[in-house]
């Protein structure tokens, strides 16, 4: 890895995108969830809540956490929520793949997937073979975005802006809207809305 100096703001941005990526990659286990009941997670949510644009979605997340707290095994309840939203198809949930929203067929592995593969190939990258998900998965896109930000060091490259606009924002609204049709604790719906709010605020800021 080449040593570049990275501005504090870019470090924060990257960290946040990675945080979203982590949440959308897979279910939280018992220990990871505990952090959101009384730990670092609470702190992070509190900080984010202070930003007016984010208040509504953070509240949604917090209320979901309150709902599931008294349940015997809250991590399982949240896992069921996760599966209900992200592991089903478009009719019942919100599969986290760009192809589903952007292609005519509504199938997986369509052009948006090919675009991501081409992008990665051009830069000598691949999706971790253990992850076994299509490259247009939202978590992979966010992970890549975090890396783009770090790579840019102190500034913001056109590539970064272009990636956010063409590869993510092109389908994020549809995706977030799809999550909303699922009725459960609302934790992941809140996360997705927070992501939507954050990325919009972010792009506005860096373009300014």
């Amino acid at each position: 890895m080449t040593e570049t100096t990275v501005s504090e703001i870019n470090e924060t941005r990257a960290s946040l995108y990675w945080w979203f990526a982590t949440l959308l990659t897979k279910e939280l286990d018992k220990e990871q969830l505990a952090i959101y009941f009384c730990g670092e997670g609470v702190k992070l949510l509190d900080q984010l809540e202070q930003e007016a644009l984010f208040t509504a979605s953070v509240e949604k997340i917090k209320s979901a956490l309150t709902t599931i707290l008294p349940i015997n095994k809250p991590e399982l309840e949240l896992a069921a929520d996760f599966s209900q939203i992200f592991l089903t198809d478009t009719k019942a949930g919100a599969p986290p793949y760009a192809s589903v929203y952007l292609s005519k067929s509504g199938q997986l592995f369509e052009q948006p997937h090919q675009d991501m593969v081409d992008l990665f190939t051009a830069q000598g990258l691949v999706v971790d073979p253990n992850f076994k998900e299509p490259a247009d998965h939202i978590a992979i896109q966010l992970d890549y975005l975090g890396n783009l930000i770090i790579q840019d060091g102190e500034g913001v490259s056109d590539a970064q802006i272009d990636f956010i606009e063409t590869n993510i924002l092109s389908w994020l609204d549809m995706f977030v809207q799809a999550t909303d049709k699922v009725k459960n604790s609302g934790f992941y719906q809140g996360i997705c809305q927070l992501l939507q709010a954050y990325i919009k605020q972010d792009i506005a800021e860096i373009k300014a």
Binding site: M1, V6, E8, E11, T12, A14, S15, W18, W19, A21, T22, T25, E27, I35, G39, E40, G41, L44, Q47, N72, K73, L76, A80, F82, S83, Q84, L87, T88, D89, T90, K91, A92, P95, V100, S105, G106, Q107, L108, F109, Q114, V117, F120, Q123, G124, L125, V126, V127, D128, F131, K132, E133, A139, I140, D143, Y144, G146, N147, I150, Q151, V182
Partner: protein, 821 residues
Amino acid sequence: MSISRRSFLQGLLATSTAALVGPGLIQAAHAAAGDTAGQWKVSGSHWGAFRARVYAGKVQEIKAFEADKYPTDMLKGIKGIIYSPSRIRYPMVRYDWYLNREKSDTTQRGDNRFIRVTWDEAITLFHDELERMQTQYGPWAIHAGSTGWRSTGQVHSCGNHMARAIAMHGYTVNKVGDYSTGAGQTIMPYVLGTTEVYAQGTSWPLILKNSKTIVLWGTDLVKNLQVGWNCETHEAFEYLEQLKEKIARKEIRVISVDPVKSKTQNYLNSEQQYINPQTDVPFMLAIAHTLYKENLYDKKFIDTYALGFGDFVPYLLGATKDKVEKTPEWAEQICGIKADQIREFARMLVKERTQIMVGWSIQRQQHGEQPYWMAAVLATMLGQIGLPGGGISYAHHYSSVGVASTGAAGPGAFPRNPDKPDKRIHKNKDYKGYSSTIPVARWVDAILEPGKKIQANGATITLPDLKMMVFSGCNPWHHHQDRNNMKKAFHKLETVVTVDFTWTATCRFSDIVLPACTQWERNDLDLYGSYSGRGIIAMQKLVDPLFQSKTDFEIFTLLARKLGQEKDYTQGKNEMQWVKELYNGCVEANKASFPMPDFETFWKEGFVDFGKGKDWTRQAAFREDPEINSLGTPSGFIEIFSRKIDRYGYKECQGHPMWFEKAERSHGGPGSDKHPIWLQSCHPNKRLHSQMCDSEQFRATYAVKGREPIYLNPHDAKSRGIKDGDLVRVFNERGQLLAGAVVSDNFPSGVARIEEGAWYGPVDEKIGSLDTYGDPNTLTMDLATSELSQATSANTCQVQYEKFIGKVPAVTAFGGPKEIS
């Protein structure tokens, strides 16, 4: 680009995010990507052998294998199966079952939440349940014998993998028979000495040369020959084309005995003998009556080759208990064919060489044994059995039957049975008085009425008290009858495990769902040409298993590992070594007759062709020497009267073929006042049973408003205010469904068709709820054909339909589990 995560955590969020961010998902690629055009590979399917272009890890296009001159357009559906949104992507467990195991709320089944688990946990759960069943109950509590059409490929044959791994753990309940030919395959060994339904038939060239008349009795060759048990190459279509020409030149007469104008009839431009549904036996009896009365039957043939004609004639003449003479006039009242026309038909049959081809539809109804038996009696009376282009066959519509066999040996299969049965972990064979094998269609009865005693093929079966079902590549929520009855049964089950690649209704009603990959995500081999044994085809892996799916071989190897017997399971060989082993076994078996290249050459070429087989006449050997080449019947002769069946003392299948009124029948039959329409649920034209229904874009080519089509008679539709393309609610006292109307002249009044294999998607989990896509088995009756075969009676089904008005519910059949809100 260099890739990182979690290394720059300072500032505002530094303290908090460190613990919140997981490892990265992207890494540096090791090798540069290859060519840009992609690579052509060989594979196959029940729909046909094909070549596929694979580029960037994706199947880009598919074209028919060059040896297949008549490919079906179902090849267009293949990509849609691989990339279907209905694919099972991860091992999933029903949430409530995960929390409460056997005490879970089973009434939620079909409408519930699932959670994702790791493979490790999924296999542990699967294993623990098998273990619990064996220790808490016994081998009678687990049914792991139900199998379906599998995918092609002999190494990954899913039923074999399930059977082998589970047998290494303990004994379970098994099945006999299948849903397609249950009645036929049970009755025919008593009559003609083999199952007939799975037997090679007289070769087409001999039929084309010698037959003057071909009677298609309830069989639709053109529709059903599109799919095959192995990788199909559609050789029979060449002969159908020749037949069409011969009909045009009036060299052969083809008459289709069918209530419906079949696809075959429309293709061949041939004649139809209309008959009321389910009344084939009265028609046949009246033909026999005419042949007997007019002395047109072959006495010498009967004397030499058959037994029991003398015991049958009194029934024909009305000298037995029912006192009804089976005259054409009597039959006319039932089958709707004019008496004189029946006589004409009988005379035509004996005039010249006549080949009778019987389909499977007429045995998938109540008393399905009778038309099969009676057709054999007719053929015996004609005396042409064993002559080229004469006699009778029961399978010319199936898997290239009628295309001469090359005689080459096909590849074997991954072994179904454990190599070391002594190492079975649970050796308990005590079924507590329950039967260890049950007729395939009676498992729902077993769950609902355990301990009930039923008669089946000469034996008394005690239905076992099933607690756990294991399915692999098998979709009973398509092939079994009466969905609402099945829902009741599934409420009683403690655990259901299903291995599949797509979210069938069976998966949605299960507790543990394991994702297999499709047949195109693994290396394998199979025969092509099915019954013709035309060649061996390589099934080269097109893409890696998608998501977390695994091959059947891998899945059950994991289970075997859990049993501590991984090596006994795999014999220490991996997938490719098994492919090679099966191929080399085939080379060895064909050594003297069919030289084959070494494995590497075969795999590179993609196939080995054995050439054309020699034309062959069914039963010719028997006709030539009935003593040495005796039939497999108890006497060795054709049994017009079976003393063996007579001795069973059954009510609905007695010593000789008879007419029995059906539980439901159209055209004035029982139940037709309330539900006047006969619903036929024949094999689909655009699927293989329920396989490929999940292929979305292809489904859209035939679905009507997103629903399965129901084919309606124009007059019937009009009288109900239904137009082509309307949504129709079809119902009877057993259930209700939504389907899309296709109005067609091919269908007579009182008859409607919904093809079986349409996926089940009820509005909710409640009993009686409306099916949103159009699965005909929501309406069919779960009724045994008779005490003899206990087979399915799907074609005995009366319904009513009306134009659907009101809020249209969304289709819930596809895309995985629908969940409680």
